[in-house]
Amino acid sequence: MANRVHEFRDPIHGFIKLDSEERELVNSRPFQRLRHIHQLALSYLVYPGATHRRFEHSLGVMDVSSRIYDVVTDPENIYHDSVRQLVPRRGSDYQWSYWRRVLRMAALCHDMGHLPFSHAAEAALLPAGVRHEHLSREIILSAEMQPVFEELKIRPADVAKLAVGPKYYDGKFSDWESILYEMIGGNVFGSDRIDYLLRDSYHSGVAYGRFDHNRLIETMRILPREDQETKEPELGITRGGLQAAESLLWARYFIYTQLYFHPVRRIYDIHLKEFLQEWLEGGRFSTRLEDHLRMTDNEVLAGIHATAADPQLKGHPAASRITQRQHFRVLYESNPNDQTLNLSSVDLVYEAAKKEFGEEALRRDRYSSEAASEDFPVRLRDGNIASSLTMSSTFSDGQGPRFQVDSVFVAPDGKEKAKIWLGENKAKILGEAVNN
């Protein structure tokens, strides 16, 4: 096959390029399935533009990953012998091209295991202990993908390792593999996070999600954490990239609070979970690869519409709430004042409201974002390495952006009555708990 360069036009990154062998992976059935998995579940019911899919996100992650790789492995950007020993030499070393290709393909594959509508209530819809990362790993290692990786001349196990990371890959990571995984899934500025923030912001219209990712990428470096008196390397930045990194962390805060944790988006996730638990055989998605690959948002949406139209079908109430916008409304959210009285304030309000209005009229939502650290190594102009928290005037008070969801929803027809009830009884509910 002639190995030529192919291009995808992308609204975030311009042209995303890949060669003919890499395009075979894009053409594979597991990757094409991502054309039918919404990146942000039912968020388009709140933000109409948020209809983008995992397909283009995965292409974006591949593009950003290789840009990071090229910057951090450039000999001009390596300052320490311990890092020099770790990184394959660009140009002369076959390992350099090998790992570049593995990284790009791992970035493409990292979301292949996603269930329909992405993250929505994954824990409740898969067998205990199984996450979409396990399915991604299984797909990468499957017989179906074997010929693609043979053509690419890379080991599927290496791709799986970098795609799902140490938490979900059963095996040890060398320092080099850890750094490569950080380029994709790192909890400060991995390519996955860079792409989803920019892309979700663009499509939803929540403009706070933007930041200067080009500057950030150009300043990334592999740095030993001398600030912690260890030589173990991490992905960090030079001093000049600090503001770009700060803006990413703030963008993350804004996009979580404005978009991912939007209460209507959250309650639609809950209604979707309720529908799926009724509609799916056994109340869960099958983890058989063939079943997984056949199931996309299209099948689920068809199920929602058919079920909403027929009151006799299981899952009808939840399906109708989605199609007729009869979602539950926020009754109560956690807040620092009430939590100072009682950390379990949301549980207490939920339990008291259940007694008053019945369990069917209420929903409980609790969700924390995946951890993000504002602490990463920064190389100063004099060559020393410091923690970002000591260098950043935005985060130097140690607090940084923080956010979580902890709330109680009530059925729309009971909202007014429940609000009045809560206003009259909240002090008693929380006060009684304190006295207990």
Binding site: S82, S387, T390
Partner: protein
């Protein structure tokens, strides 16, 4: 509620580490929690694997993130260069009042680990807890352990690994004496 009980134990451990002059950064807390669970048998549900600076738990990392977002823990920047420390957050008094059981039940174990980890920096903790990990979690034959640590962490030399193993064996023995039957299989 169980989550708050665990959180209460983590706050107690953080405070005790600081009492013993630990820098109490996230890595210090990770390694101390690992020893609390693996060597001293405290029932904390976090899974540890060998990753950043030795045994590392993604679940604990997420839990520390959640505890910061609920104001149970917070960062403190104490130096112009060195990474941040953790300290009790604004809502920790409420936590201690409402969830005193775990810290009370395991206070001796918390003291044990805080006393031994108090004066250690990240590099020393990385060596010591990696030595414990290869000994207890991987059952590496005694004579191969130093070489294996050096393979896993090339920046730890074999003499450094040897010294860490001596310390790890002593710590495990002291734990066995003070807390018999504590260690999980």
């Amino acid at each position: 509620m169980e989550r708050f009980e665990n959180a209460s134990l983590i706050v107690a451990l953080t405070e005790k580490l600081r009492e013993h002059q630990s820098w109490a950064g996230e890595t210090h807390l990770q390694k101390a929690t690992y020893v609390l669970k693996r060597v001293l048998g405290v029932p904390i549900e976090f899974e540890f694997i060998l990753y950043k600076h030795g045994p590392f738990s993604f679940d604990l990392r997420d839990e520390i993130g959640w505890m910061r977002s609920t104001r149970l823990l917070e960062w403190e920047v104490r130096s112009n260069f060195y990474g941040p420390s953790l300290r009790s957050g604004q809502l920790s008094p409420t936590l201690k009042r409402q969830f005193p059981v775990m810290p009370g039940r395991y206070s001796r174990q918390v003291d044990f680990v805080a006393q031994r980890f108090g004066g250690k920096n990240v590099a020393a903790l990385e060596r010591l807890t990696t030595a414990i990990y290869v000994t207890l979690d991987e059952n590496t034959p005694s004579q191969d352990r130093a070489r294996y640590i050096n393979e896993l962490k090339p920046h730890v030399s074999i003499p450094e690994a040897d010294a860490a193993l001596v310390e790890a064996d002593a710590l495990i023995q002291a734990a066995n004496e003070q807390f018999p039957r504590a260690m999980t299989a």
